[in-house]
């Protein structure tokens, strides 16, 4: 199915947010996640389903001022 990850269309197989992170290679990465504009805590990723058209944000620590 097609979803939007970090602003770009992606064709994915994952059914949950946790599976999506594994599929994208972020399984061990320190990231924060949001689905459709709402934050999803790390402990909730297994229980968070992903559906066609969802907008997922995967954010990482970055340099900032």
């Amino acid at each position: 199915m097609k979803i939007i990850v970090n602003g770009e269309t992606a064709e994915i197989r994952a059914g949950t947010l946790a599976e999506l992170l594994s599929e994208l290679g972020y399984a061990d990465a320190i990231v924060a996640t949001a689905v459709n504009g709402a934050m999803v805590r790390a402990v909730r990723r297994d229980a968070t389903p992903i559906a066609t058209g969802d907008r997922v944000e995967i954010l990482a620590p970055m340099q900032g001022g």
Binding site: G25, A29, R41, A60, Q63, G64, G65
Partner: protein, 276 residues
């Protein structure tokens, strides 16, 4: 410890943010350095104990054995052992800022947040109305908010009643290097809130700007571009650290009064008289 035998008593001059004491009054941004090594050296050399960080989309493609950009940056910061102050840079609405702060809290494991709600692109001026609203929501939710604000007294009051225990007025627009644009406003903010920790955040270009902020009685200074974009960021970080210490020492030392007329510093009595 007995104050008389504590030889560090003269130099130890910690500043406190939300009950956390830090020895350095320089808060340093981590963006725009020529390399991670130079960033690390600038932090170490300046003695900064608090650094600002942000949250951005992880841009790389994860490959086995190759750390993603965000992950290696985070490792570098953790190895330095400094406290992090995550920002909500670039957020333009209350919702964006609140969601970003929530994600930052989980990612960085700190209730601290440098709250930015930007109102205008050319000046990156804070949207103070959105700022107060976001500060209220986040404070209620257990965040310890460091609001990036203007020097406006009424906004400051509203931020304090929203739950903020630190204020961070701008010196000048972010990245402009102009110094203290409104010394009168900054001085009057200091005078109105003598016990609130105040940090000049943004717009400084030179160590003398930082010294001037400290001489006004500000508790600390936050800067990024002035160090990161200097020809030698490591040396400039150290220069700022020294200027901040000098300005702080000057306040404690209680400066002389300014007067209009000259007053001889060399004693007049006993002056030799020639050729009378």
């Amino acid at each position: 410890m007995d104050a008389m035998t504590d030889t560090t008593a003269f130099d130890a001059d910690p500043v406190e943010f939300y009950g956390t004491r830090v020895g350095s009054r320089l808060l340093l941004g981590t963006a725009q350095y020529p390399s991670p090594a130079i960033l690390a050296e600038a932090i170490r050399g300046s003695g900064a104990e608090i650094v600002t960080v942000s949250l951005r989309r992880e841009s790389g493609v994860a490959k086995p054995g190759q750390p993603l950009a965000g992950q290696s940056f985070w490792q570098l910061i953790r190895d330095l052992g400094v406290k992090v102050l995550p920002n909500t840079a670039g957020c333009k609405t209350v919702k964006e800022a609140v969601t970003t702060a929530e994600m930052a809290r989980e990612l960085f494991g700190t209730p601290w947040v440098k709250l930015e709600v930007i109102g205008e692109d050319d000046t990156l001026q804070p949207d103070v109305f959105g700022l107060v609203e976001a500060a209220r929501i986040l404070s209620r939710d257990g965040f310890q908010v460091f609001p990036y604000t203007t020097e406006d007294l009424i906004v400051a009051e509203k931020l304090l009643s929203a739950g903020c225990e630190v204020l961070m007025p701008w010196g000048a627009p972010i990245g402009s290097g102009r110094g203290l644009n409104n010394p009168y406003g900054l001085r009057s903010l200091r005078a109105h809130f003598p016990r609130v920790p105040l940090v000049v955040d943004a717009g400084l270009g030179l160590p003398s700007h930082a010294a001037a902020a400290m001489e006004m009685g500000y508790d600390a200074v936050l800067l990024n571009t002035a160090v990161a974009k200097a020809g030698d960021p490591v040396r400039m970080a150290r220069a700022f650290a020294r200027a901040i210490e000098a300005g702080r020492d000057a306040v404690i030392a209680d400066p002389m009064e300014v007067r209009d007329m000259a007053a001889p510093s060399t004693p007049v009595m006993g002056r030799a008289v020639f050729g009378e």
